[in-house]
Amino acid sequence: MNDKTGIILGLLATILVLLTLAVYIMNAGTIDFTELGSFAIVIILVLAATYIIWDRAKNIRKGLPAKDERLINISYKAGYYGFIAAIWSAVGAPLLADIFLGREELEGHYITAIVVLVSAIIFMISYFYLAWKGK
């Protein structure tokens, strides 16, 4: 996959997240405090993703590769952690929803939303942590 395709796919995912959030808000009717917290997390994730995309686009405009060898390794490692988080959050989502939200039955789209949210948080945290530590 070339750099430009990667940036376009990243932008597409960001737009999809925002659209999904908008649909969720419209369907929710009344929004409680826990949901407000989730929206804040989504907005932070969107901002972090936008920063990464902007950084890569800036490199391409300068005629440099979007990611160097170190960043490629970091994104593989962070992707690995995100993947593990996706599997475990899918398994634990109904249980966590029951404990924290008191909901025994979750609609299917809530499960997928939780998996995307948790794995994206883990990916972002590991990506920035590994980049900061220089690993």
Binding site: T20, V23, A78, P94, E107, G108, H109, V115
Partner: protein, 144 residues
């Protein structure tokens, strides 16, 4: 305990766990058919067959490696696993968005079957695992 014995023991434990998983999923599919939910039964049974085929392929491959005296996981297989996980993570995000939108549409169109907790869990996890194995297989064969 030497390395080869440790590997053999780990291999046996993983194999037994996988057999239990496949049996569990298979029996779940059989129970669905007893309850008259034939579509869900067929999906779950097909899923258990898919896991069994993937597990058998890995089992034969790894058994040959162990017999030849190679370790279960070397530096290359670690790299491939990490790369396959990273690609699967990105692909899974799009896959989960499709499932999310499908359920939102199904809530408004009554003729479409809606996903409840169990169905969403099965379809999400099954899809993510299948995506991972396809990417892992391609990367292993390509020799990346």
């Amino acid at each position: 305990m030497n390395e080869a014995k440790k590997m053999n023991r780990m291999f046996i434990v993983i194999t037994i766990m996988t057999i239990f998983l496949i049996l569990g999923v298979f029996l779940n599919g059989v129970f669905y058919s007893f309850e008259g939910e034939y579509v869900q039964s067929i999906i779950v049974l097909l899923f258990s067959i898919a896991i069994a085929i993937i597990a058998a392929y890995i089992f034969i491959n790894e058994r040959e490696k162990l017999r030849a005296g190679f370790p279960l996981e070397d530096e290359r297989s670690k790299q491939i696993k990490q790369k396959a996980s990273a690609y699967s993570f990105k692909a899974s995000i799009y896959y989960l968005f499709v499932l999310f939108w499908y359920n939102i549409i199904a809530l408004n169109i009554k003729s479409l079957p809606r996903m409840d907790t169990e169905a969403a869990l099965g379809v999400s996890l099954g899809g993510i695992i299948i995506i991972f194995f396809i990417i892992w297989y391609i990367l292993s064969k390509r020799g990346d």
